[in-house]
């Protein structure tokens, strides 16, 4: 099999059994790789209703056919499991070097089952696979652990590690890699922790065969030249996603003080320009990426120097805006704290912002917080509450469950401003005046995540109040994204450098010899999208369109200030968007795929 590693490695941490099987050709045909593999394997292998943090849950780590090849941005890997945040299918996509390395070790997929009886890590050096003791690493921060593992095993190993938050089963614990890349969303880090699995250390030195190497070289060579000539490249090289901060504030879409506003008055102090002047040390790329959006930075606080990759836009939005941490030193430090503790900066920011608002409104008091005076903009109380969360101390144990469950515990109407859908905190776009973006959050299969369909640019392009046509565009985007997640590539060359989508089926054919048209690939995407919907239906006690509703703040409260001031979503528009979305998808009025649609996709 060209371009694929060709093997599935299965590790059972309970029994210690390690098995290697050939990749199933039918799985390849219908699901391609990466997220497609993950969704199918988890749907088939997970017993409905299981505890996401129990030994029956499984973690699937999957590369795509183009990962590790001479293809721009071919460094993306999927981590997936039943999510402790949403109790449904969850995954998180991560850049860095791991996607490539796992294939050089000969594997496309790693399936981790069971639970180790003591802290462990998985050691993979090509064909040599071992479950090793991790006593010396357990309890250490994620950045610290990765460095310790590199010192112990060698620089050629690539790591996926969790921090204390993962060990302590925080439902928004992330998986960290390459000193700044994270599989941040849906709490897969907690699933690792529940399995007593501190890390995966991996090295591969095998070659991947290419079906038509000359053609792949020419195709990619041309595409890279095109990327280099694009006028936006310079901004991306210099600032990465942080360049979005200014734009987002100008659009009034920057979540601020727990989404009370879409504009943060202090945004100029946390922008990409400020990072460029004050903190950036190195432009850091994932495997094969000409854009290098990772901004490796350094800051000094309390007489100590901290190194961290970021803040990325999402961190600037969810900690900078949403917790109102308005200077670059504090924000960079907050980013480091999250990375070392192993907390997703998106959900982490949202949870702290929620707690700050609850404290401000008197819903929680000093008695609940053990005297921590939570205040928007205050890095000290941010740090104190974040540490309580990571170690599940006091109120931290409640907040560690995410804003949905925390708001159920706190009551007093706090659910209205618990900014989540399906249990996953909304990421960095205020959407009351962006119906397509709001619909993207509402219908996202893993909960409210922006980049399954980054639709806000469509709202801006065609008119922000317009409802018509928005569902159609959201669906198109929801089908483009899985193509990238399945083939193992980053979408940003397409989004930001206008790289043609037609390149990908061509590169796929040159690399693998498999002939798919772009439409064929999009059909695979639709299959994956419907499959994760089936997963959600299977796991929901009381399934209905209510699962796709945004938090009440979006339709009961106006945006407080900035360019989108006074805007609010209308309930009838929300229903109109959903009706249109379901109809176009071939789903019934409750959001269930119809038998005809499932048949068409080969899912019935």
């Amino acid at each position: 099999m060209f371009a694929y590693g060709g093997k599935v490695l299965r590790i059972n941490l309970s029994t210690g059994q390690i098995t290697v099987k050939n990749l199933d050709e039918k799985l390849v045909r219908d699901y391609l790789g990466g997220r497609g593999f993950a969704a199918r394997i988890l749907y088939d292998e997970l017993k409905p209703g299981l505890d996401p943090l129990g030994p029956d849950n499984k973690i699937v780590v999957a590369s795509g056919p183009l990962s590790g090849l001479f293809v721009p941005g071919a460094g993306k890997i999927t981590f997936a499991a039943k999510s402790p945040a949403t109790n449904s299918y969850g995954d998180s996509n991560m850049g860095g070097m791991l996607a490539a390395e796992i294939k050089y070790a000969g594997y496309d997929v790693l399936i981790i089952e069971g639970k180790a009886n003591r802290p462990s890590y998985i050691y993979i050096n090509n064909d040599r696979v071992e479950i090793r003791e991790a006593g010396q690493y357990w309890g250490q921060g994620a950045i610290t652990t990765e460095k310790m593992l590199k010192d112990d095993l060698g620089d050629q190993f690539q790591m996926a590690v969790i921090g204390p938050a993962g060990e302590n089963l925080i439902k928004f614990a992330c998986i960290s890699h390459d000193f700044g890349r994270q599989a941040g969303r849906t709490g897969i880090g907690a699933v690792m922790g529940s399995k007593n699995l501190k890390a995966i250390a991996l090295r591969g030195s095998k070659s991947l065969k290419i079906a038509n190497p000359k053609l792949l070289k020419t195709l990619t060579g041309d595409i890279i030249t095109q990327c280099q000539k694009h006028p936006a490249l310079k901004l991306w090289l210099n600032q990465g996603t942080a360049s979005v901060t200014v734009w987002s504030n100008e659009q009034g879409s920057f979540p601020t003080r727990n989404f009370q506003s879409g504009y943060f008055e202090g945004y100029k102090n946390i922008s990409g320009d400020v990072m460029l002047k004050e903190t950036i040390v190195t432009n850091k790329a994932c495997f094969g990426c000409p854009m290098a959006c990772g901004k490796y930075a350094r800051t000094k606080k309390n007489n100590r120097t901290y190194y961290v990759e970021g803040p990325e836009y999402e961190t600037a939005a969810m900690i900078g805006g949403d917790c109102a941490i308005g200077n670059i030193t504090d924000l960079t430090y907050a980013n480091w704290l999250c990375d070392e503790l192993g907390i997703d900066t998106i959900s982490g920011g949202s949870v702290v912002a929620f707690a700050m608002e609850c404290y401000e409104k008197g819903i929680i008091t000093d008695k609940d917080t053990d005297g921590i005076k939570l205040k928007f903009g205050d890095i000290e109380s941010f740090e104190k509450i974040l540490r309580k969360i990571a170690y599940r101390e006091g109120i931290g144990a409640i907040l560690a469950e995410g804003v949905k469950i925390a708001s159920e515990k706190f009551g007093q109407g706090s659910d209205k401003f618990a900014m989540q859908v399906k249990g996953l905190e909304i990421s960095g776009y205020e959407s009351r005046k962006a119906p397509a973006m709001m619909l993207a959050y509402m219908t996202c299969d893993i909960g409210a995540h922006h980049n399954r369909a980054w639709a806000i640019t469509h709202d801006i392009a065609v008119g922000r109040d317009k409802i018509e046509g928005k569902a159609q565009r959201v669906i198109e985007l929801q089908h483009i994204r899985p193509v990238f997640d399945m083939i193992g590539c980053c979408r940003l060359q397409w989004v930001e450098l206008d790289l043609s989508l037609e390149y990908y089926p061509q590169a796929l054919a040159a690399a693998t010899g498999l002939n798919y048209s772009l439409d064929d690939l999009l059909k695979c995407s639709e299959r994956v999208w419907n499959l994760s919907r089936l997963f959600l239906i299977r796991e929901s006690k009381n399934f209905g369109r209510h699962v796709d509703y945004p938090p009440a703040r979006f339709y009961e409260e106006k945006v407080k200030n900035g360019p989108t001031r006074d805007s609010i979503a209308k309930k009838q528009d929300i229903d109109k968007l959903l009706d249109e979305y379901y109809r176009l998808r071939g789903w019934d009025e409750n959001g269930k795929p119809t038998p005809a649609k499932l048949k068409e996709l080969g899912l019935l």
Partner: protein, 128 residues
Amino acid sequence: MYLTADWKKCTGCRLCLSVCCLCHFDEANPKKAALAIDAKFPEPGTFHPRVCDQCGTCASVCPVEAISRNKDGVYIIDSEKCTGCGACVEACPLKVMFIHEDSIVPIKCDLCKECIPVCSTRVLSIKE
């Protein structure tokens, strides 16, 4: 003529390694490339490419004279003559000759220049 690298611009993307392997072996494998990148993280957070400066040490230590200088001043390994003793790899002052389990012949820069244009930050260039 030889390859030179401005390490301060390197983003660690490894496109140079990928294209090197693809051009010489028709495969994907950055560990089969004639250059390498050292990543120094978490501190100081910098990348350090290692490239061959055609110093000729490899040729001078080769016991079977398998490495010779061509008209451009580039040292080329004759894979027929090479016995895989590893003396050149050992002696290479910049550690830019590489051994991979697929072959006994070390991998060395032949100055094909394919790595230069794929780098979007223009780390690599030719020195006369």
